[in-house]
């Protein structure tokens, strides 16, 4: 499994990036004049994704 960790990490990173981009785009589409809040919200969103992906990635660390 350890050998797959690097692949899983890269794969997770890609999904992480896509999801964050989708979040930012959706946010702008829904709340264009509240753009100022996109930075803290993206941070919160990324933190949440990080926790979720940590749980997934730990499977490949053994």
């Amino acid at each position: 499994m350890k050998k797959l960790f690097f692949v899983a990490f890269c794969f997770s990173f890609a999904i992480f990036a896509v999801l964050t981009s989708l979040f930012v785009v959706l946010y702008f589409r829904l709340f264009p004049h509240r753009a100022i809040f996109v930075y803290p919200l993206s941070f919160v969103f990324g933190f949440l994704l990080g926790i979720l992906f940590y749980l997934v990635l730990t499977k490949f660390m053994k």
Binding site: V25, P32, L55, T58
Partner: protein, 664 residues
């Protein structure tokens, strides 16, 4: 751990699905996020005024304009913007536009809801964003920089564009002469049906009114001319005014002008006499009492188009009547908590979200929604501020329709000014040239209020203020104070005229009113006692304003015994550019009987002083009422030769005295 892993997989999956679907169907999501608003109507003119101020970045174009370039204070500012894609010039329908207003100092000019900016709303049919701005700083005048920030619906930086406009205060279109003195006729009843007392103490009809103007040297009459009497049978939507009152105003105006005097008539705009306005067909104004609302049965709603039209028609007819020198209004400005029925206009102007399917709701449901909001103090504050803008636009509309070929005045009660301290500025910014400020307070209260008058707006606008004080014995008589009510009335006028202006430049005064002096409110004093008092006010006021051809001084004791002879000393100084001829002095009692008739100085040459004295014996008259002081009338008449011919001029002033006991 395994469960947590499954859970996190599931959550990642759900988030992914939500984000993908959200990005595909975001327009549908927006429907839930954007609330319902009432649409603002725009004129075509404003939509053609674009292209003036625009800014673009790589992908978008932003345009902005306002409905005017120069605004008056208390005038709403309509802002319209467009956000286009550069490539195909299509509108970015899902974008948002926010507008911030800056004073010339760089400070933010807040909206009446206390917010630093307004968010424009998209109008799909016109393809523009629109919004209304109401400056919270009512007194600000000068340049305003408007910064429009467009937020496209893509993760790109916003783009902004600036635009400038001006807020100015209105200058009076017509000025009135300084030092005007008016005799007020505020009677709701027809003047032609009421008798008055003549100078010789006899009861006469209203034809004698112009004679009184000449005797007391008033400059004109200020009369309540337009009234709606809701209790009368023949009042209707097409003919709401008391026609008899309008006709007699026109007649009195003609007679007044024939005497070389001025006539000012005013209209009671939204208040009716009696409580049957619904019977006439008018919409009543609604009052908010903290929880629910009630109808004000004597105030017509500003939404009533019929009233607005008939008001404009009557105003216009007075404006066109050559005998009217000034035309005015009263009762347009609603007190606090009144005018709740204007809620739809308010929600539209302030772009406040409303309940879904607003148009399908009943009037009761809409009002209930609004009343719930009014319970919030900030919301109520915003509504009251917005009302000032609405009332100003109402008054402006009537003035625009009726024309402005002569000076327009507004009749204001001081209590209204206390409630809305900014009212005076508001009135002047609507195009009103001068105001009549009427005081109803007691004499003692007015003396206490003197300091607040000194520091009020009245002082700033003194040269556009006509002072009026309600003649009412119970307000003027002070217990345990040995001064006649007439003296207090006279003193109030002089004190207020002095204190209301730093430069003694009050535009004038009006007596409120002739019929208070002639009947009900005169106390133990006779109508003639009061008329002598009113004459003294005119005399002193003209003296202050140097409108006399001569300076007049006299001496007569303030304490006298009946049937004893006293000397009456007079001193005239001719300060005019001509010779005064036949200067005559009469001394009269409270009933118009002469103690001295026709003491005459044949001639007082220009620049000369003449002194004289003559004997006077005051005899006792049977008095029904107990007066604190006795009153004498001193009448001065003289011939004045001008380019237009010879005129008989006159002044009538009072002298008060106490009766000394014979043992003294």
């Amino acid at each position: 751990m395994k469960i947590l892993r499954i859970l996190s997989f599931t959550l990642i999956f759900i988030i992914t699905v939500f984000l993908v679907l959200g990005n595909i169907f975001y327009n549908n999501l927006r429907k839930y996020l954007d609330r319902d608003y009432l649409s603002l109507e725009l004129s075509d003119e404003i939509l053609l005024g674009f292209e003036k101020a625009s800014r673009s970045n790589a992908d978008f174009l932003l345009y902005v304009t306002t409905d005017k370039k120069i605004y008056r204070k208390f005038e709403k500012i309509i802002v319209v913007a467009k956000l286009l894609r550069k490539a195909d010039k299509s509108t970015v329908e899902n974008g948002k536009i926010e507008v911030i207003f800056y004073k010339s100092s760089g400070e933010i000019l807040k909206n009446i809801d206390g917010k630093n900016s307004i968010v424009l709303l998209y109008d799909k049919s016109a393809g523009v964003w629109k919004g209304v701005f109401f400056p919270l700083d009512f007194y600000y005048k000068g340049s305003v920089k408007l910064e429009v920030i467009g937020y496209p619906d893509t993760p790109e930086s916003s783009l902004s564009v600036s635009y400038n406009f001006f807020i100015e205060s209105a200058e009076p279109s017509c000025r009135i002469d300084k030092g005007m003195s008016f005799l007020g006729i505020y009677s709701l009843e027809r003047v032609s049906k009421r008798n008055i007392v003549s100078l010789n103490g006899k009861e006469v009809d209203w034809n004698y009114l112009p004679e009184w103007l000449s005797i007391l040297s008033f400059d004109g009459v200020l009369m309540l001319s337009g009234v709606t009497k809701s209790f009368e049978e023949d009042v209707s939507l097409t003919s709401p005014w008391d026609r008899n009152k309008v006709t007699e105003s026109d007649l009195l105006a003609e007679k007044t002008v024939q005497r070389g005097k001025k006539f000012a008539g005013w209209i009671k705009a939204l208040k009716v006499e009696g409580t049957y306005l619904k019977k006439i067909g008018y919409k009543p104004a609604l009052i908010f009492d903290g929880n629910s609302f009630s109808e004000d049965s004597s105030t017509i709603s500003m939404l009533d188009e019929n009233r607005k039209k008939s008001l404009a028609r009557l105003f216009s007819s007075f404006m066109q009547n050559k005998n009217y020198s000034f035309v005015g209004f009263s009762d347009i400005f609603l007190p606090k908590n009144t005018g709740v029925e204007l809620y739809e206009e308010f929600l539209k102007d302030l772009q406040i979200p409303v309940l879904p399917q607003w148009d399908k709701l009943s009037g009761e449901e809409k009002l209930r929604f609004f009343l719930d909001k009014l319970k919030d103090k900030d919301f109520l504050f915003t509504f009251e501020n917005w009302k000032k803008y609405y009332m100003a636009s109402y008054l402006r509309e009537i003035i625009n329709e009726g024309g402005h070929s002569k000076a327009i005045f507004y009749f204001l009660n001081y209590s209204e000014l206390k409630e809305f301290p900014e009212l005076l500025k508001l009135i002047f910014d609507c195009g009103i040239d001068f105001v009549v400020v009427n005081f109803n307070e007691s004499f003692l209260e007015l003396i206490k209020n003197l300091d607040s008058i000194k520091n009020s707006d009245l002082n700033e606008f003194a040269d556009r203020v006509i002072f009026s004080y309600n003649l009412d014995f119970k307000n003027l008589d002070v217990e345990n104070y040995d001064v006649a009510a007439i003296e207090n009335y006279f003193a109030t006028y002089l004190l207020y005229i002095k204190e209301m202006s730093r430069k003694y430049n009050v535009a004038g005064f009006v007596i409120n009113d002739l019929y208070n002096a002639m009947s009900g409110k005169r106390g133990p004093y006779s109508p003639l006692d009061w008329m002598y008092g009113l004459g003294r006010i005119v005399f002193e006021f003209k003296n202050i304003n140097a409108q006399f051809p001569f300076l007049f001084y006299y001496y007569f004791p303030f304490e006298i015994q009946y049937d004893k002879e006293y000397k009456f000393f007079v001193r005239f100084e001719n300060v005019s550019t001509f010779t005064l001829k036949d200067v005559n002095i009469d001394i009269l009692d409270s009933e118009g009987n002469y103690f001295v008739k026709g003491f005459t100085l044949q001639e007082i040459p220009q620049g000369k002083v003449k002194e004289a004295s003559f004997p006077v014996v005051i005899s006792k008259k049977s008095e029904i009422f107990i007066k604190k002081k006795q009153i004498l009338g001193i009448r001065l008449t003289w011939d004045e030769k001008t380019d237009k011919g010879n005129f008989k001029k006159s002044y009538l002033i009072f002298h008060t005295f106490r009766v000394a006991s014979e043992t003294n």
